[in-house]
Symmetry: C2
Subunit: 248 residues, 2 copies
């Protein structure tokens, strides 16, 4: 059984958007926070990884939102490294409210990268021993988000420049900002009248410090599903996502 790790977190005002709920980008920051803390606790944290010239890369998030926590609410953030094979790791996150209700679930797929050579490396056995995941031959990668096709009408498009404060220690854009770009491109009125129920996002290529990107989105006729992509200036694909929406 994978080791679970819990922290208690009181939602700060600056983690919320105008709905007084934790913003979608911040949900991902909180998930990574608790997984970093578990890794530190098991002594396979940043120091362990960086000494070996490695870094964790997120490949995919599958996010299921019953409701987002409100400002000042105290939630339990839980994580476990559920399933590992030689090169990939599935990690789960659960946000649990004071009534014990699982209000957010996130499945994620990570890999470990040699930061110099920019290629995948085997997950060290100390990590497997630490997290105690189920060790499998083939890892379930989950479904990829449906792509925007030539038949789709791109109704939403905006350019974004990477900002100095978007960049993290690894000199890449902190993952949470992809969500800023994907959500901001939509209509404010739509955002105020709808809530995300599920979100499936796949990261193809990291956005760097000096990049300019284009965020594009397509909405279905029923306004229940949007497809998104983030493109580099040369048209190359950085990220794809599908978001399902419900009326408030």
């Amino acid at each position: 059984m994978p080791k679970t790790y819990d922290i208690s977190h009181k939602v700060k005002y600056y983690e919320c958007d105008m709905t007084k709920q934790v913003s979608v980008p911040m949900l991902l920051n909180l998930a990574i926070l608790v997984s970093n803390m578990q890794s530190e606790d098991l002594q396979v944290g940043d120091d362990f990884v960086h000494e070996r010239g490695m870094g964790w890369i997120v490949l995919q998030y599958d996010i299921d939102i019953k409701r987002r926590p409100m400002v000042d609410e105290v939630v339990t953030l839980r994580t476990m490294a559920r399933e590992f094979n030689a090169f990939f790791a599935n990690r789960d996150f659960v946000f649990i409210d004071a009534d014990g209700e699982e209000i957010i679930k996130i499945h994620s797929l990570f890999s470990l990268m040699d930061m110099e050579k920019r290629k995948l490396v085997r997950i060290p056995k100390e990590m497997v021993q630490g997290y105690e995941p189920e060790v499998v031959k083939r890892i379930s990668r989950g479904e990829a988000p449906a792509s925007i096709t030539d038949e789709d009408v791109i109704a939403y498009e905006k350019q974004y420049g990477v900002r100095y404060t978007d960049i993290d220690f690894n000199l890449h854009v902190n993952n949470s900002h992809y969500f800023d770009w994907m959500i901001d491109v939509l209509d404010v009125d739509f955002l105020n009248q709808h809530e995300i129920t599920t979100m499936n996002i796949r990261f193809e290529k990291e956005v760097g410090a000096s990049d300019k990107v284009t965020s594009q989105a397509v909405m279905n006729d029923e306004q229940t599903q949007s497809k998104h992509r983030i493109l580099f200036a040369d048209g190359g694909l950085a990220t794809e996502a599908v978001i399902n929406w419900t009326n408030k």
Copy 2:
């Protein structure tokens, strides 16, 4: 003597920029966090203010940085409502490290606004009784930042669109984002080689949800001081600032 209020805060990875120190915008979020917590503690918090149709508005920050806290560092965040008159409040913030060193000091000037009528209102006596500030006739407003003049060469300029996640509960841009715009406009190499020592910022007019703004900056020949302004699309002034820099 004004009541002081302290919280202990462990720096999260997502509060830091690429230098592994708390980003400048996040310093201001943390300051407002501790002042909100003091207000709640004294029962003159958000509920008290919003029931009366009022809201606090920041007019000015004077920031003095010895060093910024590092990721995982635990710091004490201290605040006190130092000086009030009928319409204005001076509030101080201090960041104190584990050695008891005061590493950041912030003086701020706030006023209380009728959110409907958009005009200043008298600070209620319950607040004065709660915070126990020094009550004065005339409040020291501090020096205004020097403005960019017609003789200055505007070497840095960028347009920014307000993003959905920039907006807070009051439907205005969270103050911290003005710092994003002012810092991001400068050169990345300059930012990596320099540190802010002091920053004086005055807010003239709030930026709203649908605004597009221009961030402009002028650097002196010695590269020790930059002057900044944030302009609305119609050329109107939102914010002015002066930042002093030192070599790393």
